[in-house]
């Protein structure tokens, strides 16, 4: 297969992987969703700030000590999910209805075994019939080929919003 053929095949496989992930989240199957992550996952979401001058950085790449929105590893993601499964969290009781769109899937680095992927997402969240919220943003993932599928080894999320429309009780 030529390089273009390989890339097209890889792109298709990743597109299917994301569609499967999106379905798990929208179906509320968070325990299955967790299985998509590698044991060494780092899952982060920095807070957007507009900075003038030399401290200005590309926020999605900002590393180091900061007040993240998400700063998770496998263990803390598991704890978040376990909490929601207690059924005692008012913020997700009854669970939010969500409909996600994941699109603009770009393979940004295919030079190693692990694939760097940029995508755009839009999450439509409904609580209590008429509280409708949209979270929009982008994700930078590092996907690790695993058997015939992938694991997410790194996920960086950057919301478009600088003032969150509500507190966050869902995943991206």
């Amino acid at each position: 297969m030529c390089d273009l053929g390989k890339l097209t095949h890889l792109h298709g496989a990743i597109t299917r992987f994301y569609a499967k992930e999106t379905a798990l989240l929208d179906d509320g199957d968070l325990k299955s969703w967790l299985k998509l992550f590698a044991d060494d996952i780092r899952y982060t979401m920095p807070m957007r700030e507009s900075v003038q001058g030399e401290d200005a950085v590309d926020l999605i790449d900002r590393e180091g000590l900061q007040f993240y929105l998400f700063n998770d590893d496998k263990e803390s993601l598991e704890l978040r999910v376990e909490r929601l499964y207690t059924g005692l969290a008012p913020g997700e009781t009854p669970p939010s209805v969500t409909q996600r769109l994941v699109t603009d899937i770009l393979l940004t680095d295919t030079s190693t075994d692990e694939v760097e992927v940029r995508s755009s997402f839009l999450v439509f969240q409904v609580r209590h019939d008429f509280h409708e919220t949209i979270f929009a943003g982008r994700r930078m993932d590092r996907l690790r080929p695993m058997d015939d599928d992938f694991q997410i080894a790194r996920r960086k999320i950057l919301l478009a919003q600088s003032v969150l429309p509500r507190t966050v009780s869902i995943f991206f």
Binding site: P46, M47, E49, N71, E78, R80, P90, R166, V168
Partner: protein, 443 residues
Amino acid sequence: MAVIDNESPDQGSESFLIESGLYTDEDVYQLELERIFGRSWLFVAHESMVPKEGDYITTFMAEDPVIVSRGNDGHIRVLLNKCLHRGNKVCLFDRGNAQRFRCSYHGWTYNNQGGLGSVPLLKDSYMGDLDIGEMSLPAPRVANYKGLIFACWDKDVISLEDYLGEDFRWYLDTFLLDADPLGLQVLPGRHRYMMPVNWKLLAENFGGDQYHFASTHSSVIAISQRPEAGRIVHSEHSGEHYSAEFTSEKHPPHGLLQLAVGEQFYQEDMNMANGLGAEAASWVTNRHDRLQERLGDLKTRPYSFHTANVFPNLSMVGLATALYGRSLIVWQPRGPMRTEVWQWCFVERSAPDSVKERMAFTLTQRQAAAGMVAPDDHENFERTSDNLRGWEARTVPFHYGMGKNSGSTSVLPELPGRVLPQISESYQRSFYRHWRKQMRQNV
């Protein structure tokens, strides 16, 4: 206005009932902007946010946008972010470093001390008719209490020290501001998020509502024994805990929660620090030694408090343990039924990196925009606000009666302020009593 002119909540048999209109009425809200937010010391920044000359952040004093700017003279000023000409903003970033702030509409330009420095066509079109040397961005009074910068539009306001009060300042000093020899360090990435509720319900929650934790946050309690929770739990229900209230004719009421007394809490911090290594353990030990010095020969040995509210809208959280990020929260009012939450994470500057990272991690996982605590508060307040749209529902008052007959003596008289049982609604009653008094003052 009925909700202001009604009897104080401390008078009469139904005194602990608060009218729903306090949380819904647009006229009340507009009057609050003038009489509460226009006349109180409002937190705007910590000095670590503007360490160098030219550094600034933009924030709000209630609905008023302001720039907190460390000018080239080294002084920190608060400037209304509104051009004197046509009212446009002059600074558009969240933070940065700048010599000047330029309005994009006609180009009026101010220096970082607020003075109007230049106006296009000053000679040719104003023809000497504008004395820019006399013009500067409106600036409230500013005061710095051990790094906490407050501002107030009322030039006759009492001093910030008196406003905080000696008793409350003892707790602020002992457990937050004097705790670290190098002081507090703000982290990048302050959170901003909307809550669909009146600001007062949030402020009084942090100052006086330990009661809600067991119900609202029962999911956090339910997972606290799981091994995955080891990094972020602390004793909220075991051990000796109190609340404290600081109410006086001389200053607005402030309140704090989860005042933890006894050695147990230090031992728990040590256990957690040992998991982070010898450097962390040594830091926690030294921190505890410094606390013992500050406590002097008090027989009662408090270790920490966890949350607090400074009237009107500055709250704190995360002080319970040495390994929890210190957080300041401002409840920025956005209409009678909306609040924009501003939340910062601070670490103690002398802490080793392992501790700083744990502090930020714990805050993020718990009481933060995407944490495991705040969304459940959000939900409750959203439902409350939804109900307040109903005409009949608005006639039903809120109930603040817990502990109304329990007397006014402190249960730990050796400590400053009025120390109360952990669960009480005394602070809320003081909060609304003072709120009503301040709302009635028409000059």
